[in-house]
Symmetry: C2
Subunit: 244 residues, 2 copies
């Protein structure tokens, strides 16, 4: 009987602990402005990196590296890559002048103003060549690195630190600037620092660029495209209530 | 002065809230066995999906879908795909009999025993073709989906629900079985359910497959491969202490 009891034990976190996780998830922002001049203490940075390092990884391969960058000269070169790529991007909107104007007004990175930058990379050779669970879908190695990035982002939020992911960059430039070897792939370039505020909504939502979709639109039942199902009717109604 | 004060306000979560996030991160496991027969209540599933839906996404494109699967017939077909891919994988270890034996003994999925399966997909056409921030590095769309998966995983852990990511599958099979259209890509196949226990360490660590690396080995300073730097000496020492 004792064993049976154990089997149904509840491993949920306490109410307060759950609230902490959900608060981090819902109040996390992609921060491009509002950085303040304040160093991130080593102890805090350590907790954030350790959280990232405890992400799931395919075959426990832990294929990530974190390059921490404070050097001004390095950052300047990254910023130049951003400027070039941004220019390219603006040109793509040549046939939509309204969007082009909107885009040009957006602040999209905080490379120089943030306390530090972190480049997160993927090393496919780590513990390889045979990586358990990566034999059918090779990209799962990259997916692991992304899970680590999300851990880092949430831990930073919990510590009161904003993170901005700069994706308007050339990976070739990054590889050169950071001396990343050919077999390693940059996955994310992040800017971290304390902030004046965490906005209540994502910047792109506030700027009217796009809206948050109703959850109902991204949930399917049993197969792709099935938005209603008798078996799932109660959940489906609950999801609809959430959206209204 | 009032404004200045605001600027340096501390947005960190409370100690208890932080503990909640870190507990979810450090006690999260990839669960393949120990599932118990117990339904996941709709309200709980709703919170988990909503957490996933609040992940960061490039250009706020929210390119994810969540296909919820309980149907036995569908799961059986997915399980068959797993069996085929597992067999292929075992054959790859033909020249390493010891690892092959170890691999063959591992329980690598809980497709049939879990309360439900979720296939998470990536739709590159969502809000496209111009997706802000995806113009230089196209894969950033996929990265967004992975961030959503990590949110889902952590929320599930907080709710006391185990998640197992089954990556030993053929995407072609998944596309057929779940009627996923050609332009959409399956990213993850997850098994969810209440569990008997969350193991203190990852299964693959306990089985002696691989060990967790020291954090020091995955952190670099200013450039790739730089493991020591005067500017970073205190952090570097703190990381070393963590490892010992």
């Amino acid at each position: 009987m004792a064993e049976r009891k154990e089997e149904t034990a509840d491993y949920a976190l306490s109410h307060a602990e759950k609230e902490g996780l959900y608060k981090a998830i819902f109040s996390r922002r992609d921060v491009r402005s509002h950085f303040v001049e304040k160093e991130v203490p080593d102890a805090v940075l350590l907790r954030i990196l350790n959280a990232a390092h405890h992400a799931p990884s395919v075959g426990f391969s832990q294929p990530w590296n974190f390059i921490l960058i404070k050097d001004e000269e390095i950052r300047k070169r990254v910023k130049e890559s951003f400027e070039r790529e941004r220019e390219r991007s603006i040109n793509m909107l040549e046939n939509n002048k309204e969007r082009q104007k909107k885009y040009a007004r957006l602040k999209l990175e905080g490379i120089m103003e943030s306390a530090l930058n972190i480049c997160v990379t993927y090393d496919p050779t780590r513990f390889g060549p045979f990586v358990l669970g990566r034999t059918s879908i090779e990209d799962t190695g990259v997916y692991s690195v992304c899970c680590a990035i999300q851990n880092l982002w949430l831990a930073a939020r919990a510590e009161g630190i904003g993170v901005g992911w700069v994706s308007i960059l050339s990976n070739e430039d990054l590889e050169k600037i950071l001396a990343i070897p050919a077999h390693v792939k940059p996955i994310a370039y992040l800017c971290l620092g304390y902030v004046e505020e965490f906005a209540s909504k994502p910047d792109l939502e506030r700027a009217g660029w796009l809206h948050r979709m109703d959850l109902a639109r991204v949930v399917c039942y049993e197969k792709w495209g099935i938005s209603e199902s008798e078996k799932w009717s109660e959940l489906s109604e609950a999801i609809d209530r959430l959206s209204t």
